[in-house]
Symmetry: C2
Subunit: 172 residues, 2 copies
Amino acid sequence: MHFKINEAIELLERTPKTLSSLLTGLSPEWLTCSEGEDTWNTIEVVAHLIEGEKVNWFPRMNMILTQGDDYTFPSFDRFAHLTRNETNIEQLLLEFKHCREESLDKLRNQLKGLKDFEQTARHPEFGPVRLRELLSTWVVHDLTHLSQITRVMAKRYKDDVGPWKNYLGILR
Amino acid sequence: MHFKINEAIELLERTPKTLSSLLTGLSPEWLTCSEGEDTWNTIEVVAHLIEGEKVNWFPRMNMILTQGDDYTFPSFDRFAHLTRNETNIEQLLLEFKHCREESLDKLRNQLKGLKDFEQTARHPEFGPVRLRELLSTWVVHDLTHLSQITRVMAKRYKDDVGPWKNYLGILR
């Protein structure tokens, strides 16, 4: 196990700026390409990250701290963001930045005096989950979607690279 | 085929800032973790990107433009960077930023009046490769290593996420 709250926060606070550096001002061709039908483009991934801030990560932390062992989280709708109409990437990046700052402010506030990351609540599918597992998953979830965005954009050029395709595992 | 030089440059010019946003000031634990023996940590990946700027991408473009069809590129040593002693991430990020700016300045300079992206030289393994394939590969190579860095860091928490592991394909 490697989880330490300060190291987890380091990554959580870097994600908005990382996404902004990569995506601000990019051509629509990069932002709207996907891996095929029923897969997400970059705009949809950022909308999904916003949804996670609003109803998933900090809210579930709060449920663990206030509701306790027997409480079962409401399900997180992983497709809720697909009903959004906002497709302007700069607008979405700004919203994500604000939501994340708010989440981290609330997280840091809860951390004052908190020593026990073993507290649990119930996940609707898995059963008991620990606070440190939720916080670790938040970090990995960010990294997953950063990785997804770069993979999706790389695949746009899968035929353009010609014979170099053999060297580029990301395209397979 | 999707390659357009302006869209390719959009991504090439964003990579240094994206890496800086993600990596500047991170704890050594994030920067030195890897996927196991004989795999690269994040510091080594950034050193590899610097090496590519110095001997691979723009230099090969220049070979295509000045040497022509029958010329065979010298091999690129994909492990050369492992002999470097520099391990300070901020120093490496700064060096990469400068190398990339220089590459893009030279690239933009070559582009003045250049219309033919079908020109070729010979790759030591593949044989004839086109300029547009080289430039597309440069972009995908950046994205590959951005994706790698996020994957490597995610895997550090593969046991920490507990039962959420089932949802996180990046950890498999």
